[in-house]
Symmetry: none
Subunit: 131 residues, 4 copies
């Protein structure tokens, strides 16, 4: 279970951790009951500050994605897969929405916008096929 951290990205590191953790859960790599790496271990493995990992884990606990198992560590909760998948969808929906709004604000009409989206859809499909 490796996380890839990009220190140069504009996303805070703790959010990168949260997102990747959620992604792993949403795609069933981590399933309810699985223990996530300890703060210290993850910090060492990803070469980041333990307090940063701590913050990510704290927030994941706040969102009921993981929870403490006394003496054993932090485990994926039963409801986590559902939560993660829902959030993921909602996040994407929000961003699609936002981009559409901006596009409209910029004066693109429906035809242009639809075409642009179609284009990118096709491109991304091609890339996926290649990889």
């Amino acid at each position: 279970m490796l996380l890839r951290i990009d220190e140069a990205a504009d996303l805070p590191i703790y959010e990168q951790i949260m997102r990747q953790m959620k992604f792993l859960i949403a795609s069933d790599v981590l399933t309810p009951g699985d223990l996530v790496p300890s703060v210290r271990e993850l910090a060492k493995q990803a070469a980041i500050n333990p307090t940063t990992v701590q913050r990510a884990y704290q927030r994941l606990q706040d969102e009921a994605v993981i929870c403490r198992r006394r003496g054993r560590g932090l485990a994926v909760t039963p409801e986590a897969p559902d939560v993660c998948r829902t959030q993921r969808l909602e996040m994407i929906r929000r961003r699609v929405r936002q981009v559409l709004e901006e596009a409209r604000a910029s004066g693109l009409d429906d035809a242009e916008l639809g075409e642009l989206v179609q284009n990118e859809l096709v491109k991304s499909k091609q890339e996926e096929a290649q990889s």
Copy 2:
């Protein structure tokens, strides 16, 4: 020529200025040769600090959107409309792309994604119709 600044937005004020200025140029409200409001005037009108306006204007100069007319102020450059429109389209394209990538990464298949985008397109069209 009024700008509306939202102090609570997460976008820095100087970026709000830059965006709105570019938008005004892209939509031909400001055309090449027009003078933009002076640093002091815009600062007063928008109730923000002149240094903040200065920063926005400085960056717009770096991007060749406006340029100094000695003793007169800052004027929209001949290439500005083109630059602004291109940038805007490119920005939207990048964001569409990014959203699609994330959507794919999170395991949505083409059908789901296409449907989601279609839904939002329709919704945003309805909203536009209302307003």
Copy 3:
């Protein structure tokens, strides 16, 4: 006798006036005894502020390039051609010098630098031939 002013240039307008005036003298378009345009006339013709013209003329007087002829205006001095040509040469020499220093500071060796200069010399010769 027309001057061409570039408001967007980084050179102050009064310096643009001074340079062009000196150039006209150095190349014998204006000869000793000729009257230069009045402040008002030049300001109108070049669409610039009279005080700017005034400043340029004042400095040209300080450098003994022009001098007052009571009741007639400002005239090119007898020594002006000499002064202008000397200054021009000196200015070019200084700038050549400066560029060479920077080039050296940048780590270019003699061969590279010599070649670069040769290239530009040839290019500028070609351009001259075209025009």
Copy 4:
């Protein structure tokens, strides 16, 4: 890694910082991945205001010469050496060009100009030898 700031120079302080930083990168004193001094540290060391350093660093980021490493500071980018060296060469080329144009405009013929350049080349070589 010390920078030397000349408060009396006509070059703005933030540009002095930018130039020296680029020079250090172009000459491989700073290599990709190296952290540049922190804003506060450089400000203290050079006895200038942090905001001024900030401005220089901001622009270097805009030019992709350095980039943020969250929580660690600002690091030289992989492409920086290339960018810096190219820019430097281009800057020198532009200035050589400009000087030649002016020289021609002022009526120097090829022989005179060539001789002048040759003279200065020799002089600068001698100076270099002395130091």
